[in-house]
Symmetry: C2
Subunit: 260 residues, 2 copies
């Protein structure tokens, strides 16, 4: 009977204090830590005395397979995702590989997914309160998803007035998707719709820019950027981006302040 | 010059170890903790020696105003949201009240939003990996939002094949919205589309049920429930709900396992 354990850990945006207590305990309890080199570099305080297996970008399946192989041998393995472990994260390929191989939850090898603060939450917190109403997350990477599917979702999100987080907006090789996403949103929303451009939240060189749909492409956007496009009621005032929940339609905000 | 500080803290789903280290430090540093009584009960270890101001449900604006009043007097105030502080959370009304009163970020009173693990992430982690592809969050509460807006978003999410998290699906008084949401999804998706029903994640009496679109309403759904409706590729196997990212279309998963 296998006694190994695979913990798929979302470490949050990057700053060590933005991971959960549960994620920290899991890291501390691990025999071996497997992850993308860039993320492992964020975890230096927790790597001392551990076996560490780092690999390059685009090697998700290899990392999963390595982590599973070690857990099957009886090791206690931490597999690292940035942000949340499930949002476009490692929990997906881990379960796909496991189920493909006939694994069952009661079969010995234990799997635990430990959630974390995904990019749309960490980015939103840095610029105000843009997620106070319905929202969606769309990845612009067409490496594993046909562009027609992504395009349809962009139209749906824009036309139904969701606050929209764009993950993986651009890389050195993929530069056209964000241009098309902007065009689709401009088809449904006004050019002055607020857009937040947050890069490397919680890491060195963090940057935050408030722009709008018309001007968003004049600012730097890269691999570590997440964009948040407001809905039709989102506004920017005094440098803060807010999507109202609707209290002001129902209650007098000034009176709410006076009452106390 | 006001030296007070208002920290709007997302404490995660409820279990004390699912909050971030940053949230814990913020709680520890606060003079006073303001929140909905049910959430304060989850924070008992951090309340000792603090001033605590609890209030009932539906009193969001009063809680915000109370927290702001105290911060303006120079206190260091922690205002509690469950899950994330920005997702349908307290960060929204806080900034609305502040901006309404002419506050500016450089004007003395400091505001910090501390993100946390929102319900869709904590629920997803408990049932597998349903969020490995584009997703959206829709609140079914029509207290502050016209039902026509919610209905349009449900149609958009269902037709564009988003994995969909339903927040606030049902309360004692609101029982029809979830019935209508099911009907809208059945219009666009097959009856066997997987649906996870997660109640009180991270709290006492946590329960997790895997159902499908056809049968979802035969299970208990309440105030503390979040539903996750899969997309057209989401499957359940061995009790695990997975939305594939698309690796298996591009790579041979069996070979990925053999290679290592």
């Amino acid at each position: 009977m296998c006694t190994g354990k695979l913990m798929v850990i979302g470490i949050g945006p990057g700053a060590p204090d933005e991971m959960t207590l549960r994620a920290r305990s899991a890291l501390e309890s691990a025999d071996v830590i497997v992850g993308y080199k860039t993320y492992l570099a964020l975890l230096t305080p927790w790597l001392t005395g551990k076996k560490v297996v780092g690999s390059g970008m685009m090697q998700e399946l290899q990392r999963c397979a390595e982590a599973l192989k070690r857990a099957r041998k009886g090791e206690r393995v931490a597999l690292i995702s940035s942000g949340d472990a499930g949002v476009y994260g490692m929990a997906g390929p881990v379960y796909e590989l496991l189920l493909e191989s006939g694994w069952r939850p009661d079969g010995g090898l234990t799997v635990e997914v430990i959630p974390g603060v995904t990019a749309l939450l960490s980015c939103a917190s840095r610029i105000g309160a843009p997620l106070t109403h319905d929202f969606c997350a769309i990845s612009l990477s067409d490496l594993l998803t046909p562009w027609t599917v992504i395009e349809k979702r962009l139209h749906a999100a824009a036309s139904a007035d969701f606050v929209t987080a764009l993950y993986n907006p651009k890389s050195r090789k993929r530069t056209e998707q964000i241009v098309q996403a902007q065009a689709i949103f401009l088809h449904h929303r006004t050019p002055d719709t607020p857009v937040a451009i947050v890069t490397a939240a919680g890491r060195e060189r963090e940057s935050t820019t408030l722009a709008d749909l018309a001007t968003m492409l004049t600012h730097p956007i890269g691999m570590q950027t997440t964009l948040l496009i407001g809905n039709s009621t989102t506004f920017v005032q005094s440098g803060v981006m807010v999507t109202p929940r609707g209290y002001s339609d129902k209650y007098d905000l000034g009176k709410a302040m006076e009452r106390t």
